[in-house]
């Protein structure tokens, strides 16, 4: 697990932990809005949110003195937050496509 963290790092470690989930959610939000509206501003916002996520993970890893396996966990987290919104968007389009096709065929009959 590594050594216990210093007192001053407890605050930064916990706040960075909250920052990871919040910036991950912000990234997902702006990513979805970019796909929905094709807006350049939203795209920049999503990149900014992901940058915030990277910073949060970096601060957390430093504050908690992560090394070895725990660095790998941080990396998997970063990749997971990056890929999952894309996968979920893909699933959204796929699940609703069948519904759209059914609606269209009803309308044309």
């Amino acid at each position: 697990m590594g050594d216990p963290i210093g007192l001053q790092d407890l605050f930064f470690g916990t706040m960075a932990g909250a920052g990871v989930v919040l910036s991950g959610a912000l990234y997902a939000l702006f990513f979805a809005l970019t796909r929905l509206h094709g807006s350049r501003a939203m795209n920049i916002a999503s990149l900014a949110a992901y940058l915030l996520l990277i910073i949060s993970v970096f601060v957390m890893a430093n504050a908690l003195a992560l090394s070895g396996f725990w660095i790998l966990v941080s990396a998997v987290m970063l990749i997971g937050y990056f890929l999952l919104p894309r996968a979920i968007w893909h699933l959204c389009v796929g699940t609703h496509a069948a519904e759209a096709a059914a609606t269209h065929s009803r309308a044309t009959q």
């Binding site: 470690g13 989930v21 997902a28 979805a32 699933l91 959204c92 699940t95």
Partner: protein, 484 residues
Amino acid sequence: MSTSTVNVPVASPLTAGQRIAMHYFIAAMVLFLAQILFGMISGLQYLMPDVFYNQLDFNVTRMVHINAMIVWLLFGFIGSVYWLVEDEAKTELVGAKLALINFWILTTAVAVVVVVYLFVQVGPGELKSIWLINEGREYIEAPRWADIGIVVCVLVFFYNIAATFMKGTWSGISGVLVLDLVALAGIYCAGMYFTPNISVDQHWWWWVIHLWVEATWEVLVGCIMAWGLIQTLGASRKVVTTWLYIEVALMFGSGILGLGHHYFWIGTPEYWLSIGGFFSALEPIPLVAMVVHAVYDSGRHGFKSANHPALAWLIAHAFGNFFGAGVWGFMHTLPQINLYTHGTQWTASHGHLAFFGAYATINIAMIYIALQRVRGNVWMSGGLSDNGWKWKWSLGLLNGGVVGMTVALLIAGYDQSFVERALEGSTWSGYFQAQQSAWFMQAMNWRMVFGCMTTVGILLMFWDMLTIGTSETRGKQALAPLPE
């Protein structure tokens, strides 16, 4: 956009399942009130330790506070499933009389356990007391006879629901629901395993606390949410069912081994630090995925809701689940931080927001869906006769109160981690130093203020539940299925 029309209310008698559901909902609300009452007393005892000393001690008030919460949520879930089962199976409930007898047995057992909690909690702990008075496991203190009774009642409930679907029609929602009810009865049994080895005992105890509450309840809530979205928004059954499967897969993928974050400090092998840490880091990711789907749906469809209070509570559920379980959970889940925060008010902070956000909100939403039918399928969309001020204020007060308590407890927990754990090295004197520090006491004062706010919110919500729709002359807003 959804199309909608305004109808005249068409009252129809409640079905057998819905009548039983109303029994459960009423009992759940009584227990909700008990939870808050004993929570307020427990909170007061932090500030004034002499209050009810030797009459109603903190160990009893806290136990009743937490047990009442578990039982009212369980009653709410059972009620919700009885409410939706006939609609979902498209047939009448099998064993309605058995279900009613089951309700009264369960309710009587709960009343007896509470009386025993309140009046018989002093004396030596022995095998007889495990069976008759208190099993001694935190959060699931119910004596062994009541534990077995709970499992039997859940099995009877399982029979009623599974037999109804077998008689009627199956659906994606019902398939997931019935399988989950098997786990609901089965995993609870892990909490009855007695061994003198405290590490082994805790190992199985966490199966109930983590897997029973965080896995089987979450799946149950997913099923109720799926049905609720069809009812309130006219969401497509096919889409909702697909997402239910995805949710279950994502949750099982990270949630089951996330159990490891409870095994850090109970004497289990060291590899649990890695397993628990890894899967706990992944646990919030499915919640983030939910954001993408919510944006997709709200962007593609214009929503009209047939029941505004229910939809508002479903939205509160989504936010509460994300912040309570996701943000507050991850903040202290890695072992490097958990070393300092485990078992402090930090846990209480996470527990308050997560239980309220993930579970209380969905039960309240289901009760509002039920009330619409009870009042004769009346209008409960926008523009209620009193502008819906009671449900809006109760929603605000309850959510504001719980969030306020959560933040206050977080400050108390941080102070405790700092003083008791980090500075004093988890000593007995360190514990008392932390309990008496200025920040801790101030936070506890604020917790009481927000507790009072929550209490006012609940009383207002009860008033609203008793009156909403009683003078309404318009029928329920009809919703066309959402087009792409």
